[in-house]
Amino acid sequence: MNKKILFFTIPVICFAIGFYFFSKTTEQPEEIDPVPFSHYVHTKEHKIKCVNCHRGVETQARAGIPNIDYCSMCHSTLINPASKREKIIYELVKKNKQIPWKVYYNLPDYVYFSHRRHVKLGKLECVACHGDMTTHDSPEIKNFSPIMMQFCFNCHEQKDITTDCGNCHH
């Protein structure tokens, strides 16, 4: 009898595997950033606010990721010569070479999400969606929460903010 079970289960498992592998659309890039960026060092040790680097947060839809010339404001000189990690960015700044950041929080282009609306007007903390980045000492390898529509809905419903399609989708 359990032969039958075997005959049933194994193909099913295979099916699942096949489905999983083929249905993935954007597989997360596994390799980490070329620059071993540490949120911890920047935010905790040097007391830099999120807004200082992600400048768009309160002023526009996109928070934005700093590009090299923004980093160069501080890193044009070695702050802590001991640090190996800082050397890397220092070199990049000297070469004025852009950093190919890995972007983990991507929304499809048919979604209108505005940081300003959520952070400035909605008074949301970054933690709410991004988790506590300040503790991360090593570069990200995955995003804190998979931003699915349900994820938005949970918050919108409990705060009873409009869940009308037209407000986020265009």
Binding site: P11, C14, F15, A63, I65
Partner: protein, 755 residues
């Protein structure tokens, strides 16, 4: 439990099947590609920059939207007095040109038919040496420079260049300049603008005034306003263009007959003794001959039989014209697209003279001429006519420098012209595309795109001096260089000890701006329009604002996008003119054949649309797509014909037809249009590029007879006769064949999406 071999096989099979099905299902359920986010590294910070539009002579002020310092959209600058936030299709589409795949990425050298890229220094060296040789053996007259630019300053730079180096054969194609050309012939000075404050009757000879003209967007607003005040606007044109939709009256007339029509009206004025006597005797030399000539030859019935315009219509318009206190008979470059264009223009000027140029105005003090060194220099103007003579006469041309002009595409009977061009030993082009003309070049030193360079577009057509800044919104993409800088360094190298007070074009612009600044007149465009009180204060020398220094002014200028002087006062335009010409003699036979068509013949009337200026459209897919939108004809040449004419030849609406001229056959898509002049067939100009952009449709000009205005060298658009022959099979092959051998000539890749 034991698993025998068969079971095992089953198991394997089952699992494989499962895997396959699962995979397939997964692939099917996979999110659509577009759901994947468009990865866009960078903060996506939005910024706006002001620059100017160079798509047509208008020179509107553009407001460009940049994301991470890359321009993505262009809109009209709402503060500019020229376009007040409005913008036309060409301006909107212009951003795409920056990213065009056919753009040249650097200097190119033509090595037996193929273009290979070389370094700039190399290219410059070749150019310098060749020209140096020419100068050494005193052959300057064998060098031609063909320039097409709408910027007076750039033109000025070229004049300077020709003066310094002695290459006196300089052809400058500039819409406004060529509009002024006939005035220079008869009086030496042209009116600056139509004075809409005075003018109460506008008689428009063939100018597509709200589409492509000296200042289309300004004129659009003005004419709407003008009509709302109840003043009339009559348009004389071979085609019911959108411009005419804003006119009260339309006289369908082929350009050949403009002169006769104008003189017909002049006849009415003279007969009724309603012309401005004071003005005439003061300024109009040779008036009596003129009067006599007109009275003898142009009584309305004669004009009617000549032109086909009913005599009562002529009378009516004549009466309107003479009743008007300050009428303006307006024309611009468009009037020359015809073998007797200059004559037409002169006739119109004469007509204006009879009413003392009441409708026109002039700036009190020649503001820009005061500061443009070389603008006034106008001893014997060189035009394409001269070049054409040279070429056809096979007189040696050592070198030909081409900047911005694509005259091969813009001229009739191209086969012949191409042959002649291929004989010239050195052709240097500064165009940033391998267009029809520069495909013959031996050397291409691509110019910056207009979004990458500095310039100042000065304009008087508003009745006020204005200068719109053309500034780089993005630092240049490719290995290109501003042509003017090449010229400057050439001047320095070719003529040692040439004293040139600026070392690049930006300096030149700056110096010019400095001159404007030093007059302490006018305001920047970002300041609010002055009120009446303000104007009054100005009159008594009150300065509303002033800048601490020139740099201050300069920065302000760049931020504001331009400068204008709303306080400039204008005077009436009353030039001394004398006519030696006696009109109407030119190509009488042509007129006859056009008026009374030989059987089976139709007039080919090539018309221009507002999406295209001198064949620049094919760079912008979005424009090419909507070119024939009104007729829902896409990516092919169409022809409009009057239903009555069509029924005479039993031609169906929306059918494919092949037209036959003396130059060959070309296919068109025929549509009915009751507004077309019976007996003529209207074909749009702008399609049929063979080298770059979208290779679709046909360029009708290539098939029309080799006629051009004798004095300006402008091609004739509406004097060719065509026959219908519906053997559509051979014809398409014919056009295809043209495209292919063009491809051989051009070195660039052609985007074959629409090809």
């Amino acid at each position: 439990m034991e698993i025998n071999r068969r079971d095992f096989m089953k198991l394997i099979g089952g699992s494989l099947a499962g895997l396959a099905i699962g995979g397939a299902a997964g692939a099917v359920m996979k999110l659509p590609k577009s759901a994947e986010p468009i990865l866009y590294s960078g903060p996506r910070i939005e910024s706006w920059k002001l620059t100017a539009c160079t798509a047509c002579p208008g020179g509107c002020s553009l407001k460009v939207r940049l994301i991470d310092n890359l321009p993505i959209q262009a809109f009209g600058n709402p503060l500019s007095p020229i376009n007040e936030g409005g913008i036309c299709s060409m301006g909107l589409a212009s951003v795409a040109r920056l990213y065009h795949p056919d753009r040249l990425t650097g200097p190119m050298k033509n090595v037996n038919g193929k273009f290979v890229s070389i370094s700039y220094d190399e290219a410059y060296k070749i150019l310098k040496d060749e020209l140096g040789k020419v100068i050494d053996n005193k052959k300057q007259d064998d060098v031609f420079i063909a320039v097409q630019t709408e910027s007076k300053l750039r033109a000025d730079m070229f004049k300077k260049f020709s003066e310094e180096t002695g290459f006196s054969n300089l052809i400058i194609e500039n819409f406004q300049a060529s509009g002024a050309y006939p005035y220079n012939q008869v009086s030496g000075e042209a009116p600056d603008f139509i004075d809409f404050d005075k003018c109460d009757y506008l008689l428009n000879f063939g100018s597509q005034i709200t589409e492509v003209s000296e200042n289309p967007l300004y004129y659009t607003r003005k004419i709407i306003e003008h009509r709302s005040k109840g003043f009339k606007h009559t348009a004389v044109q071979p085609k019911l263009t959108p411009s005419i939709s804003k006119s009260d009256d339309w006289v369908p007339l082929l350009p050949v007959f403009y002169a006769d029509f104008a003189l017909g009206i002049a006849y009415v004025l003279l007969k009724d003794e309603q012309y401005d006597k004071a003005f005439v005797e003061k300024y109009f030399t040779g008036f009596n001959d003129f009067k006599q000539y007109v009275l003898d030859n142009y009584f309305p019935d004669k004009v009617q039989e000549l032109t086909g315009v009913p005599s009562d219509k002529i009378l009516q318009i004549g009466r309107d014209f003479e009743k008007a206190a300050a009428p303006a008979a307006y024309f611009d470059e468009t009037i020359f697209y015809n073998s007797n264009g200059t004559e037409n223009a002169l006739a119109v000027i004469a007509l204006n003279a009879l009413k003392g140029f009441g409708g026109f105005g002039k700036l009190k003090e020649e503001f820009f001429s005061k500061i443009l060194e070389n603008e006034k220099k106008k001893e014997e103007e060189i035009t394409f006519a001269n070049l054409k003579e040279r070429l056809s006469g096979h007189k040696a041309i050592k070198a030909l420098l081409i900047s911005g002009s694509n005259f091969v595409y813009n001229s009739p009977d191209q086969a012949e012209l191409k042959k002649q061009l291929s004989e010239i030993p050195l052709i240097v082009s500064f165009s940033s595309f391998v267009d029809e003309t520069s495909s013959f070049a031996h050397l291409i030193i691509p110019d910056h795109d207009d979004f990458e360079k500095f310039d100042l577009l000065i304009d008087k057509s508003m009745g006020l001096p204005s200068a719109t800044v053309l500034q780089p919104v993005v630092d240049h993409y490719y290995n290109t260089i501003d042509t003017s800088d090449v010229l400057i360094s050439l001047m320095k190298d070719l003529k040692s000890g040439a004293k040139i007070p600026y070392d690049n074009y930006n300096d030149y612009i700056k110096q010019f701006a400095n001159k404007i600044y030093s007059t302490h007149e006018g305001i920047l465009m970002d300041q609010s329009k002055p009120t009446v009180i303000e104007k009054g204060l100005r009159k008594i020398g009150w300065q509303t604002e002033s800048y601490s220094s020139f740099d201050d002014f300069w920065d302000g200028l760049l931020d504001a996008g331009g400068w204008w002087n709303p306080f400039a006062d204008k005077t009436s335009y009353n030039p001394k003119i004398d006519f030696k010409t006696n009109f109407g003699k030119q190509n009488a036979s042509m007129k006859k054949s056009l008026a009374s068509l030989p059987n089976k013949k139709l007039r080919l009337n090539i018309f221009r649309k507002n999406l295209d200026y001198k064949g620049s459209m094919s760079l912008y897919p979005v424009l090419v797509e909507q070119f024939g939108l009104k007729w829902t004809v896409f990516y092919q040449l169409w022809a409009e014909i009057n239903p009555d004419t069509a029924s005479k030849y039993s031609l169906q609406d929306r059918s494919k037809v092949v037209l036959k001229t003396s130059r060959g056959k070309f296919p068109v898509f025929l549509v009915y249009n009751p507004s077309v002049i019976p007996g003529s067939i209207d074909v749009p100009f702008g399609l049929g590029h063979t080298n770059f952009g979208d290779n679709c449709g046909v360029n009708p000009l290539a098939y029309s007879d080799d006629l051009f205005d004798k004095s300006t060298g402008m091609p004739s658009f509406s004097e060719t006769l065509v026959e219908i022959d519906s053997a559509s099979s051979g014809s398409s092959a014919y056009t295809a064949q043209i495209i292919t051998d063009e491809k051989k000539l051009s070195g660039t890749q052609n985007r074959s999406v629409y090809a």
